[in-house]
Amino acid sequence: MKNVYARPHSLKNVLNHYCPGCGHSIIHRLIAEVLDELDLREKAICVPPAGCAVLAYDYIDIDMVEAPHGRGAAVATGVKRVLPDKLVFSYQGDGDLAAIGTAETFHAANRGEQITIFFVNNAVYGMTGGQMAPTSLLGQKTTTSPAGRHPGREGYPIRVCEVLAQLGAPAYLERVAVNKPAAIRVAKKAIARAFQYQMKKSGFSLVEILSPCPTNWKLNPVESCAWIDDVMSKTFPLGVIKETKC
């Protein structure tokens, strides 16, 4: 009998703690599937973030080192420079990467570090209870922007891929989403491509993943998936933002 679907070898056989409808568990699984398929599990070292996904090491069965909030790209830089033949990636949220860790992200990208960043954009601070993120949309109500994000007061949502695309060094930048099966298939391909860029030493790669956060969006999971299509992706258009030769 042919086995058509199974738990990836790189994913631990445990229940996860994420809220119903959260995108993290999908993204964890995609990364695990790609690690299996590209036979990279034994070469992989991951830097999880401060945030909901700090417990990624409870689920993805690979070497991991925690970084202080926002410093994922710097820690990954240190690991990768010492172990240039390993697969080194960080997994970061929008507050982690685009607020407190802006400098680390920007400069790792600008140096062309041979690392991969998975940037999970859910437009809020999830773990701390739904505060405004640098990627919160205009008008979006959060616990710290109760009147809705106003550009004159809180500025505009940061389009990380587009900002990084202005730099010379980054090799591969793509924005994907995990809100429906077709989008998830595209996301998986992007994760695999990012790893291929790294293993061929083709340069810095970042995949931004629009991911639902029903708990803090105050929507149910189905509405959250629709919100990504109807609202969020208008500010954060999906697609390859930059690619150089791999």
Binding site: R41, M64, G78, V82
Partner: protein, 357 residues
């Protein structure tokens, strides 16, 4: 063979000879000669890594990454930059990762100035960042000792899996003295250590973390660190004494201040004043025992610091009120001469002699 080198350069050379392959730093005076030396020196080392980081925060976290990947890694800075590194130092301590951090102190607080000072003693010896931890703090007083202590710092960091700080100042970093680099035996091979991350090949996946959500587990981790610190306190105290045997007053000073004190004591000895010195080389762990033993023979301790008085508190803690503690401090980057210091010491000396009569 002796070489004439600045303190900052000597640290760099000693680090490379001690097997340091990774340096991450950010420019700040008065320690710029060290990153500049490492940029050139590590380019000639196989697997050598030098990055001028975008910030002190990034630099210390690159150290963290290199350390967990099994390399001997270091960073350096001066007072304001060291404040920024404290976040990473706390994580290194919590995750029990070796690292060497050099602080060439300057006048402060705030931006202060770029002159030699000993303003960061509290920050260095009390852990420095958030949380319940300590780091080993080494305070050299010459270029030769900077070189020797740099090699020692890497060994201690590996042996105890802890950050180690070399606490100097602008004077020590920039002055030139002859230095000999001693041949060293092969380092312990860190890549084989059981926590180093290399990819989970042929073994279970490893995790290096500091998030411990269960309070009981975090408490256990805190006490585990304390047991390590107690081992360090028992085994790694280092100090030097000078003319202490017949002394009626003991001067306590470290680093550049100890050099000045030595000059002052020599002058005072010529005048017949019985003064000696205890020079702590490890500021944490602090040399309590020699101070307590000395208090059995004499009643007056004179603490001299290039600060408003920080180490003096540790001296008082060591003495538990059993002897008098005199203090003289010159903060702000002022470096007094031995003559100035000798006048102050002699005044205190004669006052205490009178009190005895």
């Amino acid at each position: 063979m002796k070489r004439l080198m600045s303190g900052n350069n000597a640290i760099g050379e000693a680090a490379v000879l001690a097997g340091c392959t990774c340096y991450f730093g950010y420019p700040i005076t008065p320690q710029n000669e060290l990153p500049e030396y490492m940029a050139q020196r590590l380019a000639a080392v196989p697997d050598g890594v030098f990055i001028q980081a975008e910030s002190e925060l990034a630099a210390i976290n690159m150290v963290l990454g290199a350390s967990v990947a099994g390399a001997r890694a270091m960073t350096s800075s001066s007072s304001p930059g060291i404040s920024l590194k404290q976040e990473g130092i706390s994580f290194l301590a919590a995750q029990e990762l070796p690292a060497v951090i050099v602080n060439m102190m300057r006048g402060g607080p705030g931006l202060g100035n770029i002159s030699p000072a000993q303003s960061d003693y509290f920050q260095a010896t009390r852990g420095g960042g958030h949380g319940d931890y300590k780091i080993i703090v080494l305070a050299p007083a010459s270029v030769q000792e900077l070189a020797d202590i740099t090699a020692l710092a890497f060994d201690l960091a590996d042996m105890y899996r802890t950050p180690v700080m070399i606490l100097g100042d602008g004077m020590l970093g920039q002055m030139m003295e002859p230095v000999t680099f001693h041949a060293r035996k092969k380092e312990r091979h860190l890549a084989r250590a059981d926590y180093v991350l290399t990819g989970a090949k042929g073994r279970p996946a490893r995790l290096v973390k500091s998030l411990i959500l269960d309070p009981k587990e975090e408490e256990d981790h805190n006490w585990k660190l304390v047991r390590k610190y107690q081992r360090i306190e028992q085994q790694e105290v280092r100090y030097e004494t000078f003319l202490l045997d017949d002394a009626a007053m003991a001067v306590l000073a470290y680093g550049t201040a100890a050099r000045i004190a030595r000059g002052a004591i020599k002058r005072l000895r010529e005048e017949g004043l019985k003064i000696g010195m205890i020079r702590p080389i490890t500021l944490w762990p602090f040399p309590n025992k020699i101070i307590q033993n000395t208090a059995k023979h004499l009643q007056d301790f004179f603490v001299f610091e290039m600060s408003t008085g920080q180490m003096v508190e540790d001296v008082k803690l060591a003495l538990e009120g059993k002897a008098r503690v005199h203090f003289y401090g010159r903060p702000g980057g002022v470096v007094p001469t031995p003559v100035e210091l000798s006048r102050i010491i002699s005044r205190h000396y004669y006052q205490s002699q009178k009190r005895k009569k």
